[in-house]
Amino acid sequence: MHSPMEQFEIKRLLHLNLFGIDASFTNSSTWMIIAVILATAVFVWGMRQRALVPGKLQSVAELGYEFIAGMVRDNVGDAGKKYFPFILTLFIFILFCNVLGLVPYSFTPTSHIVVTFAMAAFVFIGVTIIGFARHGLHFLSLFVPKGVPFVLLLLLVPIEIISYFIRPFSLAIRLFANMLAGHTMLKVFGGFVVMLGIIGGWAPLAFIVVFTGLELLIAFLQAYVFAILTCLYLNDAIHLSH
């Protein structure tokens, strides 16, 4: 009997040792590269004609671009234009990793907290640096809510600081846990189909079909949530909105 957690196992495909650090090429890296190649293909191959009236693939590429451009415009404003390429890359990469993970026998890189935390930490450190670079020490006023009596500040400032430092963790765990839970549940119900056999197996099979649809939605939604939270954090750092 296979375990539903077996799909998350990382296998070394190419052993590589860089100065004592295990930098092997794994199935996780393979699927990340596949995601990057496919995403690049959609954008480069889709935009090759640069038609005024877009074809099918060009519409998809333009839709993705417009979607994120609108998100950055609405949430960060004009100052966010500089960071648009980063957020688009983040969104498309997470989206492709998530969706490709739904293909049977594939691997989901985003179901590992190392991968998601690396991205979340990058966002967190980057946003903090942007905040300090733009506002200097004035950036620390982000932790002090305006119009609050001094006694309450003693309580609120530590809470604000904690909630600021918890951001990368919640960002990473949200994406990783969603992918982990969804895929585990699909596999558990797949096990029910086998156990109940040809007579009773139809009910869990129908559930899997419905749930795969929901998982597609979640795959998109989590990429969206990651991107929009990055936008909100960026907005906090740029405009010190409080």
């Binding site: 969603n178 982990l180 939604l221 989590q222 969206y224 949530v225 929009i228």
Partner: protein, 75 residues
């Protein structure tokens, strides 16, 4: 008590968080539907926010799941 028994009880207790998440998700979609019935024209504009709220609330349930998994498999 046996340590493994305590582990199972702890993992079960970790799922209590689902009560709050159930209330939260029900609240989000309930408010959306009642708002949408009052003002159907404005409904499509807030649907993105509904999905965002749904994803953020659902994440709390998954934090509980991660804790349950950690109790079961890590310790």
């Amino acid at each position: 008590m046996d340590a493994s028994a305590a582990k199972l009880i702890g993992a079960g207790l970790a799922t209590i968080a689902l009560a709050g998440v159930g209330v939260g998700i029900g609240n989000i979609f309930g408010s959306f539907v009642s708002g949408a019935l009052r003002n159907p024209e404005a409904a499509p504009r807030v649907f993105g926010n509904v999905l965002l709220g749904f994803a953020l609330t659902e994440a709390v349930a998954l934090f509980a799941l991660v804790i349950a998994f950690m109790i079961l498999f890590v310790f």
